[in-house]
């Protein structure tokens, strides 16, 4: 089946708008993706036709709402190959999913001085700062993998870095700034050899690649709805059932409990144990619809389309004088997120001039300041692609960059 990008684009109402008098060229999907009509319709239908609170009503609306919420969980479980929907915990976003593990692990891993947590220099701040805080609280030591000049994880010291003191390794699956897709197989094998757990930040990979948690072999993954055609306010923690069973509640409250007396509380099994308070019901249903949309198109097809766009973009950017790409220079082992610098022009200025031409890119340190420091720049300009990105849009980016060079010549 050939991938019909024009047909895909027709499902996204926002893609037909203009920005500053130019057709919108949206190249910021790594930041947040746009939403197809099917997702917007599903959320509207919930609000208009069967809105009720979940897991606590005997009435029809509440029952329908609960069914839709749990159906969404099952769809997401199937989408990532989870053995059971009970391994899918709804959170607010990836950040909350990572924090859930970081906070509870102090207890269930009995962390203390002498223990080690391992991350990498490639992490988004949300997969770095929670572990820094955890180490501060427990006296454990934070260690990290470096990044090579090509923008890949430096695994040369794997055997020493992940050792019998290591309790947990948390690594990004696909970098939000370099576009690098890490193959975590060796790290996971080594971690499990020494009895450490592995968490993967899949915020950028689940939206773009076929992914199966059983094949992947990690113990936890985190991802977020709004980067995969779903709404904001809904994210996912997937964890192995036995681990979730052993973990204490994170944000306790209604829904998380089994029995409550004034003297004490026993807690519900996962996933309810981790879903305190009324959850983002409409958002979960929206994410379920997003997963339906992606599944219907096929993640293999989406990935192939993005690989083609990425190859085209890397070639187009290589032709822009004075432009330097950070991260892998070929599409192999990288996704459709490309960061670069234009010699002598600050990313803020690059982004401003591109916006004037309707081209929306992200500029700044992309919540990955250590990566910018690693490559000796205060900030980068990032173009990121998705299933609706076209080669025409890459051409518009290249033309925009010519304009940037003209203004700052």
């Amino acid at each position: 089946m050939t991938f019909d990008v024009a047909r895909v684009r027709a499902d996204f109402p926002i893609l037909s708008r203009e920005v500053n008098g130019h057709p919108l060229v949206y190249l910021d999907s790594a930041n947040t993706s746009q939403k197809p009509r099917q997702v917007l319709d599903a959320m509207r239908a919930h609000q208009e036709q069967y809105n009720g609170n979940v897991s606590r009503s005997v009435h029809t609306l509440g029952t329908e709402s609960t069914t839709a919420y749990e159906d969404a969980r099952a769809k997401i479980a199937a989408f990532i190959g989870a053995p059971s929907p009970d391994e899918v915990v709804f959170t607010k976003n990836s950040t909350e999913a990572i924090n859930l593990v970081a906070y509870t692990s102090a207890d269930f891993l009995k962390l203390g001085p002498g223990d080690e947590i391992v991350v990498s220099e490639m992490e988004h701040h949300s997969n770095l700062v929670p572990w820094q805080l955890l180490c501060q609280r427990t006296g454990a030591t934070l260690r990290w993998f470096g990044v090579t000049d090509e923008g890949r994880l430096d695994e040369s010291s794997l055997g020493e870095l992940v050792n019998e003191r290591t309790k947990l390794v948390s690594i990004v699956h696909m970098s939000n700034i370099l576009g690098t897709i890490n193959d975590p197989a060796r790290i996971i094998a080594r971690a499990h050899e020494v009895g450490a757990l592995v968490m993967l930040d899949c915020s950028q990979s689940v939206p773009h690649l076929p992914l199966d948690v059983v094949e992947l072999g990690a113990d936890f993954i985190a991802f977020t709805g709004h980067k995969m055609l779903g709404p904001t306010g809904i994210g996912v923690l997937w964890g192995r059932a036995a681990l979730l069973e052993a973990m204490p509640p994170f944000l306790a409250g209604g829904s998380t409990i089994e029995t409550v007396t004034m003297g004490g509380t026993t807690f519900a099994p996962p996933p309810a144990r981790f879903e305190g308070g009324t959850p983002p019901i409409t958002e979960a249903i929206g994410l379920g619809a997003a997963v339906d949309y992606l599944t219907a198109l096929g993640m293999e097809n989406i990935h192939r389309h993005e690989q083609e766009i990425t190859a085209y973009a890397l070639k187009a950017l290589a032709d822009v004088p004075g432009l330097r790409v950070f991260g892998p220079g070929t599409p192999e082992g990288r996704g459709g997120t490309v960061s670069f610098e234009v010699e002598g022009v600050h990313p803020h200025d690059v982004g401003q001039i591109l916006d004037d031409l309707g081209v929306e890119v992200r500029v700044g340190h992309h919540c990955a300041r250590p990566v910018c420091a690693r490559f000796g720049v205060p900030a980068m300009t990032r173009a990121s692609f998705y299933l609706y990105t076209t080669t025409d849009e890459i051409d518009a980016l290249a033309r925009g960059l010519e304009q940037v060079r003209k203004v700052f010549a």
Binding site: V345, H346, H348, D349, I353, V363, P378, A379
Partner: protein
């Protein structure tokens, strides 16, 4: 519209900044960052009696923030504390005006070129970054010369 943002005066100050580079002696120093974009600037202020004897700075950032630092130096270097206050007030007011104020060239000199920046809310912070750092450095040097700077 973009031409109003990137006026020649701003690009000139960006490419050829005036007074850039940290100098000693100084009475106060302040380092400010814009956490969303990573722009950084350090200002030093040396006061002699009532005069801002030397204002020196260094930083990395976009054309707007770096040009703004250069213009600040041009406007305030060697002025008295009393003369500097209305200039600062005028610049901050201009930046917070959302493009509704006609700037006075008598007061703001090359600073009038920043009138276009006020129409880009995301860039107002860039323009104000040096002025906030200067304000703190001046306070640490023992002078209070500026109005409250609000960037939210």
């Amino acid at each position: 519209m973009i031409d109003q943002l990137y006026q020649e005066i701003i690009l000139d100050h960006y490419k050829h900044p005036h007074g850039k580079g940290l100098r000693a002696p100084f009475g106060g120093e302040a380092h400010h960052v814009n956490p969303t974009c990573g722009d950084e600037v350090t200002f030093r202020v040396a006061v002699d009696g009532v005069t801002l004897k030397d204002i020196s700075y260094d930083g990395v950032g976009c054309s707007i923030s770096q040009a703004s630092a250069s213009v600040l130096y041009e406007l305030l270097q060697g002025r008295t504390v009393e003369e500097a206050a209305p200039v600062q007030e005028a610049f901050v007011a201009l930046m917070q005006s959302r493009g509704q104020i006609e700037p006075d060239e008598e007061v703001l000199g090359d600073g009038v070129a920043f009138a276009g920046v006020a129409r880009y809310p995301a860039r107002v912070k860039c323009a104000l970054l040096p002025w906030m750092a200067f304000k703190d450095a001046a306070a640490r040097a023992g002078v209070g010369v500026s109005p409250e700077v609000k960037t939210a």
